[in-house]
């Protein structure tokens, strides 16, 4: 079942020009190192046995944030059929880090890939009632206001998704 959901997630991501990398907790750091283009900023990852590459600045200043090429964060969950990732905005800074860097690398545990929006809103209900802020992000930021579709309007120009299959 799970692999079906990840497969759905992967093809939905393709529609919005996002590449999905499948990895394990043990190999995640290597995958992230390959994806990373410096300067990079990030938030420590909450998955057991997974840590960020050393080059990632986890306590950036506002200036470093603006200058970052890569921003790595875990996401709360993903929505398979839309290819969306749910960015939780918490005091450690997932929201600014996923937003200001040119490339957002979104890391999600396979067990947190939800099938659809119905499951999403069932989960978001209690989260929001407990005060959480969540952004469902689908693909890079985009605008057509200047006469043609351009990615990277105010937010990231590209997004990568990394699924940790054993988490």
């Amino acid at each position: 079942m799970e692999s079906d959901v990840i497969g759905t997630f992967e093809s939905a991501l393709q529609e919005v020009d996002v590449r999905l990398e499948r990895t394990t907790a043990a190999d995640a750091r290597g995958v992230l190192t390959d994806l990373l283009e410096p300067p990079a900023v990030g938030v420590p990852l909450p998955f057991d046995g997974v840590s960020l590459p050393e080059a990632v600045e986890t306590e950036p200043t506002p200036d470093e944030l603006e200058a970052a090429t890569t921003g790595i964060t875990a996401v709360e969950f993903a929505v398979a059929d839309y290819g969306s990732v749910a960015i939780r905005s918490s005091p450690v800074g997932e929201e600014p880090i996923s937003l200001y860097a040119d490339v957002h690398v979104a890391v999600v545990a396979a067990s947190d890939v939800l099938p659809d929006m119905k499951a999403t809103f069932e989960r978001l209900g209690d989260d929001a009632r407990n005060g959480a802020d969540t952004v469902l992000a689908t693909g890079p930021s985009a605008t057509a206001d200047m006469g043609a579709l351009v990615t990277g309007a105010h937010g990231p120009k590209a997004v990568h998704a990394v699924v940790i299959e054993d988490r």
């Binding site: 529609e15 950036p60 200043t61 005091p91 929201e95 999403t120 952004v135 930021s141």
Partner: protein, 738 residues
């Protein structure tokens, strides 16, 4: 409307067609096609529409409770709620918040409600710099123009126009040419403004009462930055945006992007429960972000009434409050596709639903500016994700405008010609078209003299000057012999005793007095299928007066039509209708004009003529008794017929007879009943028609027989093309002289 104001309106429309028409057309048609494609892939589309509709109905019903609930929730989260009576009240509060924050710069993400308030002006008067960070809104702020579309506000601007504007405003070092250049330049410029800003102002697509959250549906990421980069967030929302719970957002998130611009989902759907929990960015640029600064954030939710409570108490305008501002009604509207929101819009809102919004928040004068541009074609009806009957709202507002009009000077001569139920003072042009049946009766009785007189140059010139019937249009030619007169003399050829079925053929005013031939063809086709035909005396359906906003007259006519048909329905006879706009009255608008049971009986017992032919063939009638089309066909279905999903029967019947058919896919032909005859709208009508002309003069269509189901579509096609259009039933007529 005077001859001078008609001319002024025509001039304004001509200007917009020339300057903004191309960009508006390209963009709205892309959105509209995107909608068709996106919803076709959404399996539960209709289910979500039903859910969205019922959530909104309930939310508006219990709105006062929801306001209390959301206020308590936001306050518990540490925010503040202000319920503003009107725009001035809302602006005063926002100005205070901005002053308390000692803000010099305010950045905004896109919000139509703040446009409604004109909050930028209020803040600028206090010396505050206000920047729109949505790129479309930013362009308009620089150009000092109003949005032409509620979702994509700068839809009327071309890339070249924007490049020129940036050159004038910024004199950049590098030449900005591509959309990418322009976007990156704006991103950088606005990035600095966002950094400087102390207050971020957003709208809200939805507000959830149970959690005190706001949902923002965006693509650029500017709303995210507006919120994250500033310590004080103000969210401005109309009170109607509140829904009971977070879970209620689900159908809306499925529908809003697909219905609007045709995106499955926009890049960002933010569900924020402010004050948000992100660390502050409004600190020393060289000091690392600190988690504890998340606690320094402030949040103000400004809920705006500004006429909405009155709309809620108004049985006719209430539905407007269900609107989620997706823009489907604008994109699916043929007139909007040609002129955009600068013509089809009021002080703030644009598109079909804007009539309800403008009447409710800015007043009837603003609605009057553009209400006539809704022709009642109903193409927005199936596009609206919350199932609002947008054409009906336009009719209601038109009716109210008619009632508010000044007494006319020509009343005493005119009353005889136009025996409607309407108050004095209604526009002459509207009364003339609203009383079409009386005119047709008189024209037919005095034909051909009436036609000769009608075509005399001085008469046409008078008609244009006094009533505004465009001289460039040819007038319908009345026939002395009516369809009913012909049938009375001829009698039925299939007796009731021998027939498989019995039909009452509805003699609409146009078929009866102007184009009896298509009525005769209908009789012969039905008889070929072994149907006994009756053509009783039944009056006009009320379509003509309804389209002019004369609801009382339409209501009276609906009652008479129902009275004349009820006994036939009880006797098991099927009501068959040639003119789709009249059938659409029976099937849609009569719901508003007749008691529920009467409406349902007539709706269930009436059929479009080709739908009926299809049914006969499906039930075993012999197709070889019909005349098979000799040539491939280019078919233009009627807009209201398509809304009812009935065009497929015409193509199915032609297909069954072995004919190759292609269909137009324009939303409307542009004539739309009386609309294209009106001198102020003639050029717009022809511009809309151009899209149909392009399709039917393409290499694959140019040699085909042109077939159209609607009267006014036939007229319009006749004007657009060098070949005449026929009704489908005339093509199938076994008695046709070819």
């Amino acid at each position: 409307m005077s001859s001078d104001s008609r001319e002024a309106k025509a001039t304004r429309i001509r200007h917009l067609l020339r300057t903004e028409g191309d960009a508006v057309q390209r963009n709205t048609q892309t959105f509209n096609q995107g909608r068709y494609d996106a919803v076709a892939e959404l399996e539960a589309y209709e289910e979500y529409r039903d859910q969205a509709r019922s959530i909104k109905e309930r939310a508006i019903e219990i709105l006062p409770e929801l306001v209390d609930e959301v206020t308590a929730a936001v306050e518990e989260n540490g925010g503040t709620v202000y319920l503003a009576d009107d725009a001035a009240d809302a602006n005063r509060y926002i100005q205070e918040v901005v002053a308390d924050a000692e803000a010099e710069t305010v950045v905004k993400s896109k919000s139509m409600t703040t446009e409604e308030l004109e909050v930028n002006h209020a803040l600028e008067a206090d010396g505050v710099d206000v920047w729109e960070t949505d790129l479309g809104e930013f362009v308009l702020q620089l150009a000092d123009e109003a949005p032409s579309h509620i979702v994509a506000p700068a839809i009327h601007k071309s890339r070249e126009g924007i490049a020129e504007l940036f050159r004038e405003q910024f004199d950049p070092d590098e030449r900005l040419e591509t959309a990418e250049d322009l976007t990156m330049f704006a991103r950088e410029f606005l990035g600095e403004r966002i950094r400087e800003a102390d207050v971020g102002m957003t709208g809200a697509n939805f507000v959830t009462a149970d959690s005190g959250s706001i949902a923002l549906v965006t693509s650029e990421g500017n709303a995210r930055k507006t919120v994250t980069a500033t310590d004080t967030q103000i969210a401005v929302a109309g009170v109607e945006k509140i829904v009971p719970s977070v879970e209620d957002l689900h159908p809306f998130v499925e529908l809003i992007g697909k219905s609007g611009t045709g995106q499955d989902i926009t890049s960002y759907v933010s569900l924020l429960t402010p004050p948000v929990d992100a660390p502050s960015l409004d600190r020393d640029p060289d000091t690392p972000l600190a988690p504890e600064t998340a606690n320094d954030r402030e949040f103000h939710l400004v809920l705006v009434d500004n006429g909405r409570t009155e709309m809620r108490e108004d049985d006719q305008l209430r539905e407007t409050l269900y609107c989620i501002r997706c823009s489907a009604c604008a994109n699916s509207c043929a007139n909007f596709q040609s002129v955009g929101g600068h013509a089809f819009g009021g002080e703030t809102y644009s598109g079909g639903i804007a009539t309800g919004w403008e009447a409710g928040v800015h007043g009837y004068d603003s609605a009057a500016e553009f209400n006539d541009l809704c022709t009642g074609c109903t193409r927005c009806v199936n596009a609206c994700p919350v199932k609002i009957d947008i054409p009906w709202i336009n009719n209601v507002v038109r009716d109210r405008l008619n009632r508010g009009a000044d007494e006319g000077r020509f009343e005493f001569v005119y009353d005889e010609l136009v025996p409607d139920e309407e108050p004095g003072g209604i526009d002459l042009q509207k009364r003339l078209f609203g009383n079409y049946e009386t005119l047709a009766k008189l024209g037919s009785a005095t034909a051909p003299v009436s036609n000769w007189v009608g075509e005399l140059a001085p008469v046409r010139s008078l008609l244009e000057r006094v009533v505004g019937i465009d001289e460039r249009r040819s007038l319908p030619e009345f026939q002395r012999e009516t369809l009913r007169g012909w049938y009375r003399a001829r009698g039925p050829r299939v007796s009731a005793a021998d027939a498989d079925r019995e039909v009452v053929l509805y003699p609409d005013a146009y078929t009866n007095y102007v184009d009896a031939d298509r009525g005769k063809a209908a009789v012969r086709v039905l008889e070929a299928l072994n149907v006994h035909v009756r053509i009783p005396s039944v009056g006009e359906s009320g379509r003509a007066p309804l389209s002019q906003g004369m609801i009382d007259t339409a209501d009276e006519q609906a009652s008479q039509v129902y009275g004349a048909l009820a006994e036939h329905i009880d006797a098991g006879r099927d009501v068959v209708v040639i003119e789709p706009s009249d059938l659409a009255m029976f099937q849609r608008e009569y719901e508003k004009l007749l008691p529920e049971r009467s409406f349902e009986r007539l709706r269930d017992g009436s059929y479009e003529i080709l739908e009926y032919v299809y049914g006969c063939l499906e039930n075993g009638a012999d197709p070889t008794t019909l005349r098979a089309p000799e040539r491939p066909i280019a078919y233009h279905a009627h807009c209201q017929q398509r809304t009812l999903g009935l065009e497929r029967y015409t193509t199915a019947v032609f297909g069954e007879l072995g004919c190759d058919v292609i269909e137009s896919d324009v939303e409307c032909c542009g004539m739309a009943g009386s609309f294209g005859y009106k001198s102020q709208y003639y050029e717009l009508s022809m511009d809309v028609g151009d899209r149909l002309r392009d399709q039917f003069t393409s290499p694959t269509a140019q040699d085909r027989l042109v077939v159209a189901s609607g009267t006014s579509c036939e007229e319009q096609l006749g004007a657009l093309l060098e070949r005449d259009a026929a009704h489908p039933v005339e093509v199938l007529d076994p008695g046709r002289r070819s």
